[in-house]
């Protein structure tokens, strides 16, 4: 039994036909070609499939597409204006936080959510926020550096305004 759902993804409304067992990750990757959300474990343990659903980061592999009906979704592809980088993306690139890059989209989105909510996080808060995003390459050191740098940069930008 297929279902019709409506999703707003990166500001664009989509009518989508989905199966009851289809996940949000399936819809994003297979139907909308948004392959920046990664399949790493299929059970919500690695965080590579993270997207922002109605303002909160979620594991899209654990979210049924039908559950997301009517929601607003932001993916890595929509985190910055075309041709531009969000300060978190910039910080990840410049501070060496990216190695194989497979965990990066999820890490960037979780970091963006954290800094949206808490512009001056303590180290403990950063570590906790990212504890659901596994990375096998970096040892997290440069990731944490990038998050701190992004926080400073965003605060400076706020200050200017």
């Amino acid at each position: 039994m297929k279902r019709l759902i409506q999703l707003t993804v990166n500001g664009q409304a989509h009518d989508l036909v989905v199966t009851p067992v289809g996940t949000l990750l399936d819809v994003l990757r297979d139907d909308l070609g948004l392959t920046g959300a990664k399949r790493g474990c299929d059970l919500g343990a690695c965080g590579a499939c993270t997207v922002i659903l109605d303002g909160r980061p979620v594991n899209s592999c654990l979210t049924l597409a039908v559950e997301a009906d009517g929601s607003d979704v932001a993916t890595i592809e929509g985190v910055a204006a075309p041709g531009r980088l969000h300060p978190v993306q910039e910080a990840f690139a410049v501070h060496g936080a990216v190695q194989c890059g497979f965990c990066t989209p999820g890490m960037v989105l979780v970091t963006k959510s954290l800094l949206d909510e808490c512009p001056e996080p303590e180290d403990r808060q950063i570590r906790e926020a990212l504890s659901g995003n596994l990375c096998r390459c970096t040892g997290y050191v440069k990731v944490l550096d990038a998050v701190r740098a992004a926080a400073r940069r965003l605060r400076a930008r706020e200050g200017v305004r």
């Binding site: 920046g36 399949r39 980088l85 501070h95 190695q99 890059g101 965990c103 989209p105 040892g139 440069k142």
Partner: protein
């Protein structure tokens, strides 16, 4: 060392692929979609060991949406393996399965769900055989045979090498220690699950896109496995989402996708599930070790003898190399005048083990470093001072004929000792600390190879090749078979060529790992890529520069030797106003020489020891590392909390310190996981933890601050002096943790991982005044073969620079 003379080398630049990775634009294998693409699925054995009596695919074929179903009968009847000496695998098993997860059939269908449903409709009749699940099992039951080949019943490989007289060495020692250690197996756990897309064209030519670390070996083996000419095959390695050695074999899903594409006339994708990745494995071997070493009262080693038993799993894979690596790298770190090594790899009915970061060396490194710690205590020596004293000398040979060039080990030790406050903490911590939370500090050191000195198959061709081309647009492309697995090899290629041509890395496009377009590179393994591709890239860039300089020199009417290339210009440094913009310089070059495309080739110096087995271990140069770990052990819960890690790493030269630090930190992280939590273990043939939820790996909450100190020794063998960074720094971390735990609570855990239950058991033994040691106490009964006895080459001088096969005649500046 004068960093000023470089424009790009030594700069902490972002990786050239960072922008596409932070925006989610990088296309990994599972992101590829082709028109009319079918989806494939493998059916895997539910038995550890069984004969296949019958396979019936009728019901699967009848399912709507199924395009094709294949079994082993649909593939050429050949066995294959990554090493020429271990041809024991089949993509789809025909007669026998040897582990839970062995593939027996494959389906292509309209979508993944249909393919999976169809695979469940394949009827397979098995006749089960007794499963052999451990080294002890396999040796105790020679009547049950996993394979018919090898060095004995269920013995894949036996190695016995002796360099000098160990008995005489032990006789003159003041202290001889014999210790037994066990290192549990663990797996790579790359974030990206393996995936492959195959498209067999109507012209009979096949293209395979795959998340592989070695497109060349896959290409080479597919010609045999599929029985098609190599000229008609193209293998493209997609950006690899983490490898660590786990994507270095040809895999069943790649082969099945190719055959299914041929049969269906459609592109076919097969993406593994996380559970399948755990069973495909090829990761860290469980190794049981016995180590006997003689010491003088000053701490010098008189001689060492190690025996290793590797639990290989069901197939050969890289196992013969892994077996050698449990022995041959040990003498590279410390002065070890006499050495004996006996190794055995045993087949068991479990996922095959193979290379994982450090390939075969973390296990004996753990054993040796823990034994040194015990010896230092008995001799009343400081463990850091002792290591410093016995550090190997530069430009000498080891007992087993390996050539050490530069070594920064002493400097690495000094850095971590000074920065960690070692001496003070050694005094203050341990039993002296109050309460149930005991602090400890431990040290260990290591060495690792910068690229294997020999290829997997014997040949005299380059190990790595690079083509650099430029045209009148001013654009430069670099073509190289190397595979970027996240370590940054594409970026290193861009930096080195930019350095040579005086342009910006941004001006360069790197086209990598495509067997149709790029010169062969053997693959991303053994920490070989920066050195080998780097040397080839420098040679190619220099040749292009020479051609351009010749043309610019003619125009400016100066000798070519007077020219320099920098800031996107070519000119005479003292008359820079007349310098020619790079694009124009290329135009002049193109007008003088025609198309500008130059190749560079690299093969390591031929230094293999002249004895059978001397081909494993030689490397152009070795990196060195030392680590100090500070931790807290909770005596009530047995939990270990890492407080701080200091790591010194001799990288020769940091071509990009940001990337080198990243490699060091990643290695330290992986060592922490192996030391404290990761294990690949089985119950009745089934993986106990085949998911990312159950297989525990460190998160941001478990990783302490890692303080990295890079030591530069400017090795004559490396590109601008660089050595490896991606594997070596893992090695000292694990024993440093074990030694710190002992310092904290006085319990020796001679077994990895060091889990809270083992700490508590050790503390209980201590309370009962028994030897507070947790570890193996039983060794297999085994008949070792007579060792090959070779004279020790220890201490012989090594020539600083030897001739490399494809090097240009002019010496390096």
């Amino acid at each position: 060392m004068n960093k000023e003379r470089f424009a790009v080398v030594g700069q902490p630049l972002p990786k050239i692929d960072a922008w596409s990775k932070v925006t989610g634009q990088t296309r990994y294998a599972d992101d590829l979609v082709l028109p009319r693409m079918a989806f494939g699925r493998l059916l895997r054995s539910p038995h550890s060991h069984a004969w296949i009596r019958r396979i019936d695919t009728t019901r699967a074929r009848a399912l709507p949406g199924v395009y094709a179903v294949i079994t082993g009968a649909d593939l050429p009847p050949v066995k294959f393996g990554i090493l020429p000496v271990s041809q024991d695998e089949e993509a789809l098993c025909r007669e026998k399965v040897r582990l839970v997860g062995d593939p027996v059939a494959a389906v292509a269908a309209v979508d993944e769900e249909t393919a999976e449903r169809a695979s469940e409709l394949i009827d397979v009749e098995y006749e089960t055989l007794p499963p052999l699940m451990s080294i002890h099992d396999s040796l105790a039951h020679p009547e049950v045979r996993i394979h018919e080949y090898g060095d004995g019943p269920n013995i894949h490989k036996l190695v016995a090498l002796q360099f000098g007289d160990v008995d005489a060495a032990f006789a003159k020692a003041d202290l001889v220690r014999e210790d037994v250690f066990y290192f549990e197996g663990n797996t790579h756990l790359p974030m990206e699950q393996h995936a492959a897309v195959a498209a067999w064209g109507p012209d009979g030519k096949l293209t395979l896109w795959s998340s592989t670390q070695t497109p060349h070996y896959v290409h080479r083996l597919l010609t045999k496995i599929l029985d098609v000419p190599g000229a008609h095959l193209r293998v493209i390695a997609t950006p690899v989402g983490g490898g660590f050695g786990g994507k270095l074999d040809p895999f069943a899903h790649e082969i099945a996708a190719c055959r299914l594409s041929q049969i269906t006339g459609r592109p076919v994708k097969i993406a593994l599930t996380r559970e399948e990745v755990f069973y495909v494995h090829r990761g860290r071997h469980p190794v049981l070790m016995w180590l006997k070493t003689g010491f003088t009262r000053d701490g010098d080693i008189t001689g060492s003898h190690i025996r290793t038993w590797l639990d290989g799993g069901a197939y050969g894979s890289y196992g013969v190399a892994s077996t050698f690596y449990t022995g041959v790298i040990n003498p590279v770190t410390y002065k070890m005048p006499v050495y004996k090594f006996e190794g055995a790899r045993i087949f068991t009915n479990k996922p095959p083990c193979g290379p994982k970061r450090g390939h075969g060396t973390p296990q004996p490194r753990f054993a040796l470093e823990c034994q040194l710690d015990k010896a230092a205590e008995q001799l009343g020596l400081d463990p850091a001072d002792m290591r410093r004293r016995i550090a190997v000398e530069p430009f000498t040979k080891t007992a087993n004929h390996l050539t050490v060039t530069t070594t920064g080990l002493v400097e690495c030790i000094d850095k971590v000792v000074e920065s960690s406050g070692w001496r003070d903490k050694r005094e203050r911590f341990g039993a002296r600390s109050a309460g149930a939370r005991k602090k400890g500090i431990g040290i260990a050191a290591s060495a690792y190879m910068t690229g294997a000195g020999t290829a997997i198959y014997w040949n005299s061709m380059p190990h790595s090749g690079v083509v650099v081309r430029a045209d009148r647009s001013g654009g430069v492309s670099v073509l190289c078979g190397a595979t970027d697995i996240g370590q940054g090899s594409d970026s290193i290629l861009a930096y080195l060529v930019a350095e040579g041509l005086g342009i910006d890395p941004k001006d360069i496009r790197v086209h990598a790992s495509d067997t149709d377009l790029t010169p062969v590179d053997l693959g991303s393994y053994s920490s070989r890529v920066t050195l080998m591709c780097g040397m080839a890239a420098i040679q190619a860039a220099n040749r292009l520069r020479t051609a351009i300089f010749e043309a610019v020199a003619k125009k400016l009417e100066v000798p070519p030797g007077a020219l320099a290339a920098r800031d996107r210009k070519v000119g005479v440094p003292d008359d820079w106003d007349k310098a020619v913009p790079f694009a124009q310089a290329v135009e002049l070059g193109e007008a003088m020489h025609g198309v500008l495309a130059f190749a560079g080739s690299y093969a390591p110096p031929k230094r293999a020891g002249k004895y059978k087995g001397g081909g494993v271990g030689p490397s152009p140069c070795y990196s060195y590392s030392a680590a100090v770990v500070e931790l807290t052990v909770d005596e009530e819960t047995g939990e270990i909390h890492l407080d701080d890690i200091w790591i010194g790493h001799d990288v020769g030269r940091a071509l990009n310190p940001l990337l080198v630090e990243g490699q060091v930190e990643g290695s330290v992280y992986m060592g922490i996981g192996e030391a404290l939590m990761e294990e690949q273990v089985f119950r009745k043939g089934l993986h106990k933890t085949p998911s990312m939820l159950d297989y525990k790996s460190p998160t941001t909450l478990e990783i302490p601050d890692i303080r990295t100190y890079l030591v530069e020794t400017d090795d004559p063998e490396g590109p601008f002096g660089a050595k490896e960074a991606g594997q070596g720094p893992l090695l000292p971390v694990i024993p440093a943790i074990a030694n710190a735990v002992y310092h904290a609570v006085g319990v020796r855990i001679d077994e990895v991982p060091i889990t809270p239950d083992k700490v508590l058991r050790g503390l209980e033994l201590k309370r009962q005044s028994k030897p507070a040691r947790i570890g193996p106490d039983r060794l297999p009964v085994m008949q070792w073969k007579e060792p090959l006895v070779v004279e020790s080459a220890f201490g012989q001088p090594a020539e600083a620079v030897v001739l490399r096969p494809f090097a240009d005649p002019t010496p390096r500046a």
